[in-house]
Symmetry: C2
Subunit: 193 residues, 2 copies
Amino acid sequence: MELLEDRIRRDGKILPGNILKVSSFINHQIDVSLLDELGKEFARRYNGTKVTKILTIEASGIAIACAAAHYFNNCPVVFAKKSQTSNVDDECYRTSVYSYTHSKNYNVVVAKQFISSSDHVLLIDDFLANGSALSGLIDLVKQSGATLAGCGIVIEKGFQDGGEILRKEGNRIESLAIIDSMSVEQGITFRKQ
Amino acid sequence: MELLEDRIRRDGKILPGNILKVSSFINHQIDVSLLDELGKEFARRYNGTKVTKILTIEASGIAIACAAAHYFNNCPVVFAKKSQTSNVDDECYRTSVYSYTHSKNYNVVVAKQFISSSDHVLLIDDFLANGSALSGLIDLVKQSGATLAGCGIVIEKGFQDGGEILRKEGNRIESLAIIDSMSVEQGITFRKQ
């Protein structure tokens, strides 16, 4: 998506260790007009696909998921919560997500009442790299018995293997920008889509 | 705001200990159409007030802040982050917020680059009870030298003293629903506004 790629080139910051900071427009400060366009593009790509609910994970997925929901008939958004406790709880679906940023596992939960087996769930998140967060969300959908309608990612790091592995498992993943390579010296190369 | 009060009456759950759960439409599952109406109402109340930026706190404030931003000329939204470290960092404003839910203090940070002294900041959050989170956000705005345009709260627990204390300190707070009393037996009484 050209608008997004241009914005990443202009305002993204590449840091050593394959880190791309987009905190000035996506995940600390938020450009709501841009998110609106991203939501519209997810809807264009999933045109004709039944979606009854959008599931994301706190915190940076929330704004994107809500922007998208407007273009999916204002369907409800549910955000999975990072839980401090590992208590097993009959009322929640629960999975574990490894954060490379913080080098630790998070318990992630969704109240069972908010995803039912009749739902068609679109997963939305800001980044896809190693795929840990997205795998966790897919696991939550499987536990619920709902249909996975697909996944919508804003920025995929195509040089890490999360996207490839999850697509091979049969999941549809639409990433609005896919980075094939990036470095402080040479900038960013996006995959042609 | 009648629409909101009706929804709280219908879908809110009162639990012992003055807990009101609105997780089916505000802070776990999100009704984006409702949030849109809340955003519109904040804009109506702050009509004529200069707002260049909306500041909220992760996670449940984000969706509300983004919904509101559409009615404040699509101004940028910034969300304060709960920080795991207490490292002093030249690049961030930092404050401490006590969470009664989790009985602990959180460090809350905002990158300095996202609030400048020329900004007019509207604070948005889902709940106001003892006022700890909102005081923290006010503190962040003060550190930045920006002008505090006001505060917009979805649900204020009027029987706790956060709202009263912060208004006495001269802050404008607009709460879309103010609960004067609530109990499992007698339900909710809203303050007439």
